[in-house]
């Protein structure tokens, strides 16, 4: 596997992991979660749930997430991009 294929595979894996985390905490089937789904309005994620999601992701990827930054994130896709960006900067 070349480098770009590896990055795509890693990103797909990360995407799946984040969606799985969201699904478990929101108690929703992960098949119902796509990039355009709204985190608050459609998944019903509140501030305490978001702390649990952030903790899971920080633990799994050994990164630091600024909780204030996440307040303005609307969709699942934006959240995934935000996490990918932090991992890439690591």
């Amino acid at each position: 596997m070349n480098n770009s294929n590896m990055i795509i595979a890693e990103n797909n894996n990360l995407r799946k992991n984040i969606i799985k985390t969201l699904a478990v905490i929101a108690r929703i089937n992960e098949k119902e979660i796509s990039d355009t789904v709204l985190i608050k309005e459609e998944l019903g994620i509140d501030s305490i749930m978001s702390l649990e999601i952030i903790a899971n992701i920080e633990k799994h990827y050994q990164i630091q997430i600024n909780e204030q930054d996440t307040l303005t994130i609307a969709t699942v896709g934006e959240f995934i991009d935000y996490v990918v960006n932090i991992i890439n900067k690591k």
Binding site: E41, G44, D46, I48, L51, E52, A55, E58, K59
Partner: protein, 465 residues
């Protein structure tokens, strides 16, 4: 009169421990000694004085937790001005009501929240906090508010709460409520001088103002202010800063349970101070076993906190403790199980709501304050059984169901809304005239509510009426 004299006295004999350690989101740390903290209060008093804020002026606070929040709050009280802490989660409906009722002379705002206060800045002094710097914006002289209505030298602050009327009420909180609250809290929690306490709840709440500001400052306990609240971070803070005590709501303690296995050495922990919502017996036991701490749960209201708290050494799981010294408590019209409305009486409590005489009269009938909550006594301990008033607690935050209904009815063609609450979740049954699909309308209703009320108040479940 020096209103903060007891706090200055305590700071004067503080010793070498820091008064405040602030853990910033970027990982930097601010540590303030007693001298630094007193200097900060003096600097802020000088700044406020320069902007023209004086005795009796009402000042709305749109600030995040910080050492500056603590210093601003105390500086305002010391000047005789009346801080009005505002919940940063509030949106148009709550803010319109609070800013109209409190009608503050000045606004102190975190730079990131300036858009929130812009609709209310006309005619008011606006002091903007940006990191460590402050910028003052004065209104045109002819527009400047100049009334100096005396709301009483004994009143320390105006703190907004709900009783189910559909709008917030500004409790006129006397200074002695803060000092007495701190004293009776200490009788329960019995923290020792030199210990520290981790602060995670917003300082806008009376529980935080008493438990994380007045109580620690009066008892030589270092404030550790956490800007991050996720459980992995909190456990890391506990490990790195050898945290002794944590004050939070049961829902946050629940998250600590879930991530307990990820903690490093947290053997410094001595006590968890809990309030704001119900703590089930099972959760109480899990926390005790997993963290080896004393778990001290209590109950209070904006009008007086703590009404009751468990006493270290004689804690009764599932209860909200014994009634605080100096507070008289009775259960009105108890049912067969002994449960009825909790009514209290104490000289140290709030006696009125700002510019709300009818609501004041209703709440403070015949010398007793009707809490709107129900409870029962068992072996001298109070047990919370529910809410009689039209408010509910969602993960520690108070929600007025009438206000949510009012917000829902602002949505075009939404004719009827019936609200229900079950286990931290608000649900709404609605009738709406629309050709669009129900799911589409529900999504738009939720989006529109984001600008109107605090996010935690928005119903999660919608169904057709």
């Amino acid at each position: 009169m020096n209103y903060c004299e007891p706090i200055y006295e305590s700071l004067g004999r503080w010793g070498t421990n820091p008064v405040c350690i602030e853990l910033k989101p970027d990982g930097s740390v601010i540590s303030l000694s007693a001298l630094d903290f007193m200097q900060r209060i003096d600097d802020i008093k000088a700044l406020l004085g320069k902007t023209g804020i004086r005795n009796n002026d009402r000042v709305a606070l749109f600030l995040e937790n910080s050492a500056d929040y603590a210093a601003v709050f105390l500086a305002l009280i010391d000047l005789g001005a009346k801080p009005v802490p505002v919940n940063l989660a509030y949106r148009k409906i709550e803010l319109d009501e609070i800013m109209s009722n409190a009608d503050p002379h000045a606004i102190i705002v975190e730079s990131g929240h300036v858009p929130l206060v812009q609709p209310f800045s006309r005619g008011r002094v606006v002091i903007e906090r940006h990191g460590d710097t402050w910028a003052c914006h004065q209104p045109d002289e002819e527009m400047k508010k100049n009334d100096s209505v005396d709301i009483g030298s004994d009143i320390a602050s105006i703190n907004y709460t709900y009783r189910g009327y559909g709008y917030p009420l500004g409790a006129l909180v006397p200074l002695r409520q803060y000092y007495t609250g701190a004293k009776v809290l200490q009788e329960g929690v019995q923290l020792n001088r030199g210990e520290n306490i981790l602060i995670v709840l917003p300082m806008v709440n009376i529980f935080t103002l008493i438990g994380c500001l007045f109580h620690p400052l009066l008892h030589g306990i270092t404030l550790i202010i956490a800007h991050k609240r996720n459980p992995i971070q909190l456990l890391d803070y506990i490990h790195r800063y050898r945290v002794d005590n944590v004050l939070a709501v049961p829902e946050l303690f629940d998250l600590l349970i879930k991530f307990r296995d990820d903690a490093g050495d947290i053997s410094s922990l001595k006590a968890f101070l809990s309030g704001g919502s119900i703590m089930p017996v099972e959760q109480y036991r899990s926390l005790g076993v997993l963290f080896n701490v004393d778990l001290i749960h209590g109950y209070g209201l904006t009008e007086f906190t703590p009404v009751s708290r468990n006493i270290r050494g004689s804690i009764k799981p599932g209860s909200i403790g014994t009634v605080s010294q100096g507070v008289e408590c009775r259960i009105a019209y108890p049912d067969g199980s002994g449960s009825g409305e909790i009514c209290i009486q104490t000289d140290h409590m709030t006696k009125a709501y700002h510019r709300r005489p009818a609501e004041t009269k209703e709440a403070f009938a015949e010398g007793w304050f009707k809490t709107g909550d129900t409870g029962r006594f068992e072996d001298g301990h109070l047990f919370f059984t529910g809410e009689k008033k039209r408010t509910r607690k969602v993960k520690g935050s108070m929600v007025d169901l009438e206000e949510v209904k009012k917000a829902l009815l602002t949505y075009p063609n939404l004719k009827v809304a019936v609200l229900d609450y079950h286990e931290n979740t608000i649900s709404a049954q609605i009738a709406i005239d629309s050709a669009a699909s129900f799911d589409y309308e529900v999504l738009n209703i939720k989006k529109s509510l984001e600008d109107r009320i605090a996010s935690y108040k928005i119903p999660k479940i919608f169904s057709r009426l």
